[in-house]
């Protein structure tokens, strides 16, 4: 709370609350990562101490590497996430451009139709999606996941990007038209580079739920060759539930990639939220 006279006492109070909550937010994550490097005895005897040279033991990680095909799961997750992201951004930006740039009959209606998916979760259509995938032979393929996630990500992407594209100056686009650029070139060469910050924000928002999703991998692609990291970790932990080293190591391995991505993009994400991209 901003005050004209923000006394040091109040600032200290604010810091105290924020530090307390930061500890609550980070403690579980730290605990898991810390203990994943310890020997089994040490995990149980003193869960709250960081690994020391005596208690250090990477046995959990070796078990995970030997038992689960995590490299393959990781690759699957990467293919699905990057693939969906590419199509969401490309198709979404194209549609957003059409909706914000041209006036045509049905413009508002099309916009509303495409925005419907922001409020109604795609999960409710699962029964019919599975039937559709069975009918088209796409069950247990990564393509099925990419298609569903593309549909899932499009509404928000179109909504946010069309707001941003409205702010691109008309003079610039008209200058391009006078110079004989086609509408496609105006979109790809002029508009797309100008909305790059907005695209980065959309990318982060689209990426996290796709990477973390358990529902659709579980239903559409549960086979060994198409498991994503999230599903792979879920099943692995279910099987190794008594092997604490392996469970903790698998959890740490699942945390790490998202954490790294988040730390790289966190500025972008926070700037995107605070600049009103989702308001």
């Amino acid at each position: 709370m901003s005050r004209a006279t923000s006394s040091p006492a109040r600032l200290i109070g604010a810091h105290a609350v924020l530090i307390a909550y930061t500890v609550i937010a980070l403690f579980p994550v730290l605990l898991i990562v810390m203990n994943s490097f310890k020997a089994r005895n040490a995990i149980f005897r003193s869960p709250l101490t960081p690994p020391t040279p005596e208690t250090f033991d990477p046995v959990g990680y070796t078990t995970v590497m030997a038992q689960g095909d995590f490299l393959l799961y990781f690759q699957n997750s990467l293919v699905v996430t990057v693939g969906s992201l590419f199509f969401v951004i490309l198709f979404g930006a194209m549609a957003a451009f059409a909706l914000s740039e041209y006036r045509f009959r049905g413009n508002t209606l099309t916009g509303l139709y495409l925005a419907l998916g922001i409020m109604i979760p795609i999960r409710l259509g699962t029964v019919a999606i599975l039937q559709l995938m069975v009918a088209s032979g796409l069950v247990n393929t990564l393509t099925a996941l990419i298609l569903v996630y593309t549909a899932q990500g499009l509404p928000l992407c179109i909504f946010i990007l069309s707001e941003f594209m409205k702010t691109v100056s008309d003079d610039l686009k008209n200058a391009g038209r006078i110079d004989g650029l086609s509408e496609y070139r105006i979109f790809f060469r002029l508009v797309l580079p100008l909305v790059r910050p907005a695209i980065a924000t959309v990318a982060v928002f689209t990426m996290i739920p796709i990477w973390n999703d358990l529902w659709f991998p579980l239903i559409l692609a549960p086979s060994e060759g198409t498991k994503t990291v999230t599903l792979g970790a879920q099943i692995f932990i279910g099987q190794f539930v008594t092997n604490w080293n392996a469970v903790l190591a698998a959890l740490s391995l699942a945390i790490l990639p998202v954490l790294v991505l988040y730390l790289i993009f966190s500025r972008q994400l926070i700037r995107g939220i605070t600049s009103g991209a989702v308001k």
């Binding site: 795609i122 559709l132 569903v148």
Partner: protein, 310 residues
Amino acid sequence: MSLDDQPIKRPFRWHIVVFLAPAFFVYTAFMIVPLFGTLQLSLFRRVDQQSVYVGLDNFRMLFGDPRWSVNFWNALWNNVWFFIIHMLVQNPIGVLLAALLSSPKLRFRAFYRTAIFIPTILSFVIVGFVWKLILSPLWGVAPNLLDLVGLKSLFTPWLGKEEYALTTLSLISVWQFVGIPMMLIYAALLSIPDEVIEAAECDGITGLSQFWKIKLPLILPSIGIISILTFVGNFNAFDLIYTAQGALAGPNFSTDILGTFLYRAFFGFQLQLGDPNMGAAIATMMFFIILAGVCVYLFTIQTRLRRYQF
């Protein structure tokens, strides 16, 4: 879909079709059509390998047959409780953290923001298992921590007790998602112009009363949006319960919510066979519940919240 309104004056603008078609096609084929396909499936039943139209029979069974209706009302009530906890705990904490974050001259602001948002980016699988381990009486982290503050007697295996399990899981979900209200409220607080705050200060309104009288009314629209996002997210939740308690949503269905109920009806569990048509009927009910919530928000709450333009 007719895209062109001036067919005589100009040639048909094909580029609009080209720009819109991919998104329109993918979205329609994999979101809208399945959604209505599911609504339609709920009116059919499989009899001898044949799909037969049965009208509202599936819904009659869902509400009339105690084998289904008991579970349905249990899941719905649990889901409502799940939502109430989020509204009472997650959103006030989010507002508090955002208000503190926006205090002037606060240092390490970016660090706090980044750190508090970290749980939100983790997958449900991680969150579910991490908390399961921490609360496990086997490992003893939770009792040890309670011992440090002398409250060890309070410890029970929360996730294993019928009366506590759902509340515990709701609080875990709150822990995970508190970053979202925090960020959105923080953004709303930042967008309040300095002149408004200065005017309030000239009138001698500072400190807490400034927050209650000036800032809170200005961020009410954001709180409205957060409430409806929470509603949609909660009534669509599945992953956390599934990873922490399994598809049976134990102990004794005390943590069963609509998402896990749908999963069991659709895929079956243990002795019960999966039934896509009953699954579709449950999904249809979820659709109407979410639709009703969104309509209440759009037509009553949002129109009454005054938006201030600066």
